[in-house]
Symmetry: C2
Subunit: 213 residues, 2 copies
Amino acid sequence: MAPKTYDSSLPPIPSTDFDPGLPQSHSSHNSEPDCPFCHISAVYPPYNPADPPPSTSPVLNPELTSPQPSTFIILSTPHLVAFLDIMPLSIGHILLCPRPHRPKLTDVSPAESAELGRYLRILSAAVVRATGVGDWNVVQNNGAAAAQVVPHMHFHVIPRPELRDKRSERFTATMFGRGQRDDLDEEEAAGLAERVRRAVAEVVREDEGKPKL
Amino acid sequence: MAPKTYDSSLPPIPSTDFDPGLPQSHSSHNSEPDCPFCHISAVYPPYNPADPPPSTSPVLNPELTSPQPSTFIILSTPHLVAFLDIMPLSIGHILLCPRPHRPKLTDVSPAESAELGRYLRILSAAVVRATGVGDWNVVQNNGAAAAQVVPHMHFHVIPRPELRDKRSERFTATMFGRGQRDDLDEEEAAGLAERVRRAVAEVVREDEGKPKL
């Protein structure tokens, strides 16, 4: 029996073409009143990732989430938001989540899941460029037994600098929510977020020049 | 200043339409001679995930990778393969990787990254259905400092049954490659892989009925 084959074409790469005429979609999604990630989604409007606003722009003001902790936005599209983790395991630890409230990975739409995959690669490349750290983990926890804390699904992108043994053990132990994590240094965070946003823009623009398969 | 907005449309959902007239693409990709995942990619041809072959089909024969360990295929598309981890952290622990040799997540193409994201959701839903375990981790390690062992990028999907404290600690310690992991029970594995493949087919067919956003 000849092995079966099927359509080998991949879906087209989404364009980042900027269309200021479209309505903002970020306020029309379903949202949970007490969810910190829904709060972030509600107050930070989408921008073109290939051309991010300057860090002084009011649309990136870290204090828009006040009195909740400051938010350092890395990416804000109509469907996704990414920002620095407020208790980073390493410098450059970021979170990527869908803008609407989706408790687990199985709650996102098929189109959102593809968009998450696309930006996981882009954000990984950007974090490597911005931190100079070439190794990293991607982690996504679903449910209390899997150490999910905020019930709005999110991917962690966590740079892994070479650490001496003791720090490395602590790193692994804290990866799933146990042990000590440091608070984000807000002054460092502003500069870091700016560097990562610029690196995201570079990667997105480079991708636009690539063949579409 | 009015906040900027941009094109809010998501890319179209790829179709799983089966086209037996297209050539097999799985043998034309770049491949590393000593890479176990390239070996798996080379010997298992793509099939339509919405209509998987029966478990008795020669295209799913677990011994095609002999003398390397048996392979229990969960998914085989022109661009991706997924299979049971040979040293599972829990029942239903699977790996998803691009068919071509890509060392890290940043080495996949934009289109492959979207396809990985799309199937991460589908495989997660399928593993939940096949195992009855509703919590799980998704983990993807890049580089030696991040505990990557096989240098062909792969996502882990790892069910997290509720465990008593001691087993839970061992689970977390072994998540990044330390501590004991059990070998796959090959008899159980065959039945499990069959159940997951059928669940993947269910999810893919259900997705085809969903609005395309």
